[in-house]
Symmetry: C2
Subunit: 219 residues, 2 copies
């Protein structure tokens, strides 16, 4: 969907010890990218990197934010704003990819949490005025990404943002995962519903016993 060249780009993943972050780390490392896993604890980040192998390294979030070319934010929503506020200087000038889904859970399943800024991605953009914030990778299934038996992932990654060069870079990055297309999905102001749609995918997974994803038709 775009011909931007992302080969050699180093990818940092804040919150890379969680399932979503670890799954993405594994796929980017398999595609030949230098991958840096970040965590509050450098030790836990290194342990996660070892389980992934493929040359992935682990470090404290701040070191990852400083070193990586492009930084993915895969932390739980609760800690999202405070973490980004603490890394404003390290993330200045960089493409920051937010894949956080602000969701609540109760007996009836998942539901979208209200976010004062509109969405986690808009919260990131508000906190990081000197970064190039893009929203993407909301609907990836950690189970699928981490499964060595899955060599092709049946998914379109929706990429949202107001900076065209940045969104095209992230579209190209999504496409390094075999089977995945990176599809432009609109401006950041339309990120809320993409984040919240993860609640619907969770409902679909429950009903159909699946690891559901999205494909966009006619493109």
């Amino acid at each position: 969907m775009t011909d931007v060249n992302v080969s050699g780009l180093s990818i940092g993943i804040l919150g890379g010890t969680g399932d979503q972050g670890k799954g993405l780390a594994r796929r980017f490392a398999l595609a030949g990218h230098p991958v840096l896993i970040g965590s509050r604890s450098a030790g836990r980040a290194q342990e996660a990197a070892e389980t992934i192998g493929e040359g992935a390294r682990g470090a404290a979030n701040a070191d990852v934010a400083k070193e990586a070319d492009l930084v993915i934010v895969a932390v739980p929503y609760e800690g999202h704003k405070a973490l980004l506020e603490s890394l404003r200087a390290e993330l200045a000038g960089k493409i920051v990819v937010d894949c956080v889904n602000p969701l609540g859970f109760d007996k009836q399943g998942a539901y979208a949490l209200p976010v004062e800024e509109g969405s986690a991605a808009q919260q990131a953009a508000a906190v990081l005025p000197d970064s190039r914030v893009v929203a993407a990778f909301h609907h990836v299934s950690a189970v699928v990404l981490l499964d060595p038996a899955v060599d092709k992932v049946d998914l379109d990654v929706l990429v949202l943002g107001d900076d065209r060069e940045a969104t095209e870079t992230v579209q190209a990055l999504a496409a390094v995962i075999p089977g995945v297309r990176g599809v432009y999905g609109g401006r950041l102001r339309n990120a809320h519903q993409v984040e919240a749609f993860t609640a619907n995918l969770i409902s679909i997974n429950r009903r159909y016993k699946a690891h559901a994803g999205l494909r966009i038709t006619d493109i």
Copy 2:
């Protein structure tokens, strides 16, 4: 995705003179359903029914609401609440399918409007406590539904609601359109993001010159 039998079910479409309503009317009539197109003006409804043919009839919204077995709400969001309030008695006991997308438009494209009740579908449920409100058909392309050259529509219709028999009926109804699957998409409290996602599809259509729709993978 469900084996509910909907053959012979008569379908009323409030706001059936708009493109989305007319497109759905055409496909349900082609599938052999008695179709009743509703409008504020019975005359305009009859004109729309004639352009569709296939036995479709037109009448005033209130008559359609009273007569049809199942009623689809395809009016512009602006008139949504007032229309439903005026038809509470006629719609009591029936499955009411809301496919309204509360969107605003400006130079940068479409965006989701805030809805006090959470979503148009939840607004319908609040206004119609005696009806069985289901949300569906948000992402259908009127152009595709009305195109006689398109015999198969490449789309999953997400069907949301809290009444399982009602959602399964609407899933089966969606599936009478060739190519379409009716997929359960969660409870009504998760309807907002499905309605709002139409703004993203509009962005995708602009970028890729397409009539984009959704497919859910792994089900």
